[in-house]
């Protein structure tokens, strides 16, 4: 495979369960070393897409290639590692036994795989039974399992949901490292705030359709979401400000304005002309959740039309 060739190619994929269209015309690529977050509410089709990439489900429409091969083929399975949404290992086995087992299944010398337990911070717990692990420890063991044999593509289904912030940060540190070594990472999440700052690109699935694909900054700009400016008026000036600029009165002394991103500078300069009436100004850019909601809702409205 030459550099720059996508490790994962998804083209016009459609999956239907009975009369439910779980995926419709989904297309995107993932390049080596790239970290892509697949976002979507529960039931958006994230896990279904993963199952297609693994070859567990055969899409009714479209085409997927993994490392240039069909999903589920021997070569594809050698290139991919998977961490399912709910990972449960046999409770009676120890961490070491599980890593040894999966190393053998992946044709990797267990001696090379066992240091992964140290990497995910389970060196102490390796001899203990998985039944006694906390949820976070099981998730780390799942990650260690997924890293066996340096896969070219990591498929992580909601890997950080249910992890505390510290574990989540440690999790992403490991992900960063493997991506720097050239692995592509496709992870899913139901919250943009969870993945912000940790991935290069996001793709948003809504009711089975891909409604956005790009980096967060570009998507935020393209959304053209209004900016909120909150002005705190000096004593007795709130009414005057409200009369002049409109907006809504809040908390007695404040006025909230909203404007297009392009009109921001203009509005702020008009505000500074009246600075003797103003105590303070707060500018709130659209939050990640606003951006996420914008793309998800836009698709839903499109559905109704």
């Amino acid at each position: 495979m030459t550099a720059g060739t996508p490790i994962l190619q998804i083209e016009g994929v459609g999956v239907t369960f009975a009369d439910l269209k779980a995926l419709q015309d989904v297309s995107f690529d993932v390049a080596p070393g790239e970290k892509l977050a697949l976002l979507g509410h529960n039931g958006a089709g994230k896990s279904t897409l993963f199952k297609c990439v693994l070859g567990f489900l055969k899409p009714a429409a479209g085409r997927i290639t993994v490392a240039g091969d069909a999903p589920g083929s021997d070569h594809a399975r050698r290139s991919v590692s998977y961490l399912p949404e709910q990972v449960a290992f046999p409770r009676m086995l120890t961490g070491i036994e599980i890593i040894t087992y999966f190393a053998k299944l992946k044709s990797v010398d267990p001696k090379e795989a066992l240091p992964l337990l140290d990497l995910v911070g389970l060196s102490q717990a390796g001899r203990r039974r998985v039944g006694d692990y906390s949820k976070g420890m099981r998730q780390r063991l799942g990650l260690a399992q997924a890293l066996i044999g340096k896969p070219d593509l990591l498929l992580l289904d909601e890997p950080t949901s249910g992890l505390d912030p510290v574990s989540r940060r440690e999790f992403y540190e490991i992900i960063d490292r493997v991506a720097q070594e050239g692995a592509a990472v496709l992870l899913s999440s139901h919250a943009l705030t969870e993945v912000e700052g940790h991935v290069d690109r996001i793709a948003i699935l809504s009711k089975g359709r891909l409604v956005a694909d790009g980096n967060i900054k570009a998507l935020a700009e393209a959304a053209q979401l209004p900016i909120t400016i909150r002005i705190k008026a000096r004593e007795g000036q709130a009414d005057a400000l409200h009369d002049r600029f409109g907006g809504t009165r809040v908390n007695g002394r404040s006025v909230e304005l909203s404007c297009e991103p392009g009109a921001k500078i203009d509005l702020v300069s008009r505000l500074t002309e009246r600075r003797e009436e103003i105590d303070d100004i707060d500018i709130a850019l659209p939050s990640l959740d606003d951006i996420y909601r914008f793309y998800s809702n836009r698709a839903e409205k499109g559905d109704a039309a």
């Binding site: 199952k51 567990f56 961490l83 290992f89 009676m92 086995l93 299944l105 044709s107």
Partner: protein, 277 residues
């Protein structure tokens, strides 16, 4: 790594999980208890012409028909459906292991559990009998034959249990089907055959078809093969009377068992290839 290495890795894990879940100790304990009880209860009449181990082999052949399939189904019904339910199967099937190797490896691990349970229980009960009453060479041969064919019977039901497990979307459903299969195979089938004989005295069914129907059932095939091997040395009753009047060699009963094993594994393989974890 070769498919064989993977096969052994799967078998080892399956065995280890069964061991830690106390299936091995439970199976061995129950089987030892029953074989001790049957061996020594047969020793009541002292002036019997047959040796104690021969008598034990006869009564154990009858009991094993119920016990071995039950234990085999109990240890196997969860092996695939349970992992699908818990999410482990998705992980395993994402790795480059062939599904056939996975199925065979799991079956091998579970058959090893049965092998140990059967070998241990027969060794303990026969050892105790030899210690108490002295050596009985032909009886010992019957016990060895019983153990080996009992393992084959167990393997058949492990394969059937795994086939049920692959085909069931939930472990609970697999358990229900497994119990149903056990009831039909060990109890209802024989009752139906007896009813057939009563209804069709001296008819085609009783005269020609009946023996084939008997050996078509894995449990009956196992029992008939073992009782035929005792050559009238032990008293038989009911359906088993046929053991001494088979219209074909008893080896065919054994072939029937192998056919079941191959068929159940093939059906399981067919199903696991279509499994969506």
């Amino acid at each position: 790594m070769s498919p064989f290495t993977k096969l052994m890795a799967v078998a080892t894990i399956e065995f280890r999980v069964a061991l830690r879940n106390r299936w091995l100790i439970l199976a061995t304990g129950v089987m030892t208890l029953f074989s001790l009880a049957l061996t020594f209860s047969g020793a009541g009449g002292l002036e019997l012409k047959a040796g104690i181990l021969t008598l034990a082999a006869a009564s154990l052949a009858t009991l094993s028909v119920y016990l071995i399939p039950l234990i085999a189904l109990l240890i196997s019904y969860d092996s695939i459906a349970g992992e699908v339910e818990r999410g482990t199967m998705a992980l395993v099937l994402a790795t480059p292991i062939s599904r056939g190797v996975l199925l065979a490896g799991k079956a091998l691990g579970l058959i090893a559990v049965l092998a140990i349970a059967i070998a241990a229980s027969l060794t303990i009960s026969s050892g105790a009998a030899i210690f108490a009453y002295g050596m009985d060479m032909s009886g010992l041969a019957a016990i060895v034959r019983l153990g080996l064919t009992g393992l084959l019977l167990g393997a058949v039901f492990v394969a059937i249990g795994m086939m049920i497990s692959v085909a069931s979307p939930r472990a609970g459903q697999a358990a229900a089907v497994a119990i149903g299969v056990w009831l039909v195979a060990t109890v209802l089938y024989d009752l139906a055959l007896l009813a057939g004989i009563l209804a069709d005295k001296d008819g085609v069914f009783t005269k020609t078809l009946f023996p084939y129907f008997v050996v078509a059932n894995p449990g009956d095939a196992f029992r008939i093969f073992n009782l035929a091997g005792l050559e009238n040395a032990a008293p038989v009753s009911g359906l088993d009377g046929i053991a001494n009047t088979l219209p074909f060699s008893a080896t065919y009963a054994l072939a029937g068992l192998f056919a079941w094993l191959v068929a159940a594994l093939a059906a399981g393989y067919f199903q696991i290839r279509r499994l969506t974890p």
